[in-house]
Symmetry: C2
Subunit: 422 residues, 2 copies
């Protein structure tokens, strides 16, 4: 048996940004793998509420959690340690925060920084990876990709996306069957609003139901909204099929950049908080074409839907967490493990690695040849890309009719430093 | 082997009103059971788009569907033959329609009328059951209960409800885990809008997540909306737990009867078409308390969600379809098979029978002792009622990442009569 030596550095793990159905599966991969290498990694400390936990020295001792509890993370949606929307400024703009991070890392003998997030978080992780040189403290920063938006570069896909895609495809299929049943005397148009501020990956997943005879119109953020063309397309579908399903991205916008529905509030990153494109589109159809409509806004339901997660997505989330630890043990810094697709069918992939400098602040949009020429659908090429990502089911255990999701104890590590105001 | 004799009357089966995740399971029960009694029941004809199919002589020959296709109805949501929102007027007010029904029944030698629907449909079924006497044509009318609203009297529950309840409980749990993760720096309040125009059964299901430590505030249609009391409750929850989940019924209304969000349109039955209570509630909280929010409107997603159906619900839907045929063969008329609960834990029930005259046009609301005194939650008694109904999972088969739902051939029966204008 390998025992922990005093020389094994501890690790810090934090979840960042919007959580997903499988970010905890990555946490599971990180912690279980670290537990298998106690000679190399001491304790995994998790940041309570993400990087804020590091700044405020609010660390969670994951060694207090049983193996069973950690294993249950694999089937538990959300961020088990809490996440946050908080972006570190540049080293020049806010040196104080970086100095504080180093203090906390030093105080708790932390040599590994695992940051589990999307594009903004990759940028934070990249900055932390530069601390070694800039501030003379050895730290290996590894980014674990996560984002339902699927907009990170280099990696073939992002953990969290496959499960949202599956949820949206399944929900669109089911609701379309419903409206098809009702169309004769009642609802003829069903509108579902999905996430995706700038990239239409999630909306694209709704297009996967076309092969089951469902007429779908997709409104992508990548395509400027053309009301007349849109209404004509919907009308044609209703006249031909008796009904029409519309998948509208929250990021759908007019040529002048104005979103179909903007609530006027902004999040901590300064992004507009969206929501409500579906009722806008539905009423537009009612006014112009007179069709009875129903609309749904999936919101958090889509990214939290672990009950219908993609098995492929769950496995990749776990493997990328594991790979991050393997990379750390192997001495890497400033990298992110990636999914590298080998083939579409049969679906094969391997875990690769990317330099964080190439990842930070790069957004990957839908390629042009993934969107049909009329701008309202997805191409066969897009389907070949998407289908493997929603493959397989990975049901959580149930008790009394509800999934048995784990809530961790999240025991705080005793503080060693003074207070720090963010 | 029993063969069909010329004397076996045919049956008519129709789906009515809003469809559900399990109404096809009832259809499966009706058709599979009828196929086992070919000496008593000839062909099962389904109405294309419900009762409209009977009036327009647009009948579907279900004998053209394979046993495998009929079996697949058990795991397929929506109404496989099409449904409709169309309520027959009284015999006095529109004798022409009843005469037409008799003509169609006579022309196709139909002796059994199975109507699969909710309260309005039970009324239609009751009227048809009275045709025998009034119009001198022998017809046995059996109602098969179906409604996500769970508001039919006498039966302990209605097929369709258990699966919506499970979907709402699971979704509320998952979204609550999500908002709990984000609450430190971002979303503190999550609002989910659910169906239930007059009865709060579906909203009540959201309360089942309380036992997992989730602070939930429920807005029932049975409880007049008190904005000040509501905001105070939400504020307390956020201050105590860091976040709050709100489940708002589409039927939630002010003391003067005005719905929180009325779209101003009405359906074929003259009911107001609702939707949009969630954004109203969310913005109310933002304005008064300043908390960042997210909101979802589940709409059709909830009632079509066969992927997370309750096994109990699926089984009951099938058994009630089967019981309807058994009742018909036994000579019954003007009845509805019911679920009669024997015990809560272990959950036991038997299939009973109710007279349609006691069912038609009676709505069952939440009992007072199912709602907590403050009007925002469910009692232990309510939980004992609900928990058995969401028990068990009954997953559909999947192919390429999507459920394999069946689309029937729906072959039309050759018409024998002239056209009929509705």
């Amino acid at each position: 048996m390998v025992t922990t030596t005093p020389k094994a550095k501890n690790a810090f793990y934090a979840q960042s940004g919007g959580v997903t159905a499988v970010i905890n599966a990555s946490a599971c991969g990180v912690i279980e793998t670290a537990r298998q290498h106690k000679d190399k990694i001491g304790t995994v400390y998790a940041g309570r509420n993400g990087i804020i936990g590091a700044l405020t020295e609010d660390l969670i001792d994951t060694s207090m959690e049983s193996d069973a509890a950690i294993a249950a993370l694999r089937h538990t949606p959300s961020g088990a340690f809490g996440s946050c929307r908080f972006k570190l400024k540049s080293l020049e703009a806010n040196k104080r925060e970086y100095e504080r991070l180093i203090e906390v890392f030093k105080a708790h003998d932390i040599g590994y920084f695992f940051y589990n997030g999307g594009g903004d978080s990759a940028d934070t992780c990249f900055k932390v990876s530069q601390l070694s040189e800039a501030m003379g403290y050895p730290i290996q920063a590894i980014h674990v990709p996560k984002t339902v938006d699927n907009d990170l570069p280099i990696t073939d896909c992002c953990p969290g996306f496959g499960s949202v895609a599956k949820y949206i495809a399944v929900s669109t299929l089911e609701a379309s069957f419903d409206v098809r049943s009702m169309a004769k005397t009642s609802t003829k148009v069903f509108v579902i609003e999905v996430m995706g501020r700038h990239a239409g990956w999630i909306a694209a997943a709704g297009g996967l139901v076309e092969d089951q005879g469902i007429p779908v119109v997709i409104l992508f953020p990548e395509v400027e909204f053309d009301q007349q063309k849109f209404l004509a397309k919907v009308d044609r579908n209703v006249k031909e099929h008796g009904f029409c399903t519309i998948v509208v991205s929250e990021g759908c916008h007019y040529p002048d950049g104005k979103f179909l529905a903007e609530q006027g509030t902004r999040d901590a990153f300064g992004h507009a908080q969206l929501g409500g494109a579906a009722p806008v589109v539905a009423n537009m159809i009612k006014d112009a074409l007179g069709y009875k409509f129903h609309w749904a806004v999936a919101d958090y339901l889509q990214r939290a839907a672990r009950h219908v997660a993609s098995r492929t997505d769950v496995e990749q989330a776990y493997q990328l967490g594991k790979a991050a630890v393997d990379l750390a043990i192997g001495g890497s810094n400033s990298v992110m493990p990636t999914v590298d697709r080998v083939s579409d069918s049969p679906y094969q992939y391997k875990i690769g690695v990317a330099d964080l400098k190439d990842v930070a602040n790069v957004e990957k949009f839908m390629p042009e040849d993934f969107i049909t020429k009329d701008g309202f659908g997805i191409t066969e090429k897009c389907k070949r890309y998407l289908v493997p990502l929603i493959q397989g089911e990975d049901y959580p255990p149930y008790k009394n009719g509800l999934p048995e999701y784990v809530t961790l104890k999240n025991v705080a590590v005793p503080k060693k430093l003074g207070e720090f105001k963010i």
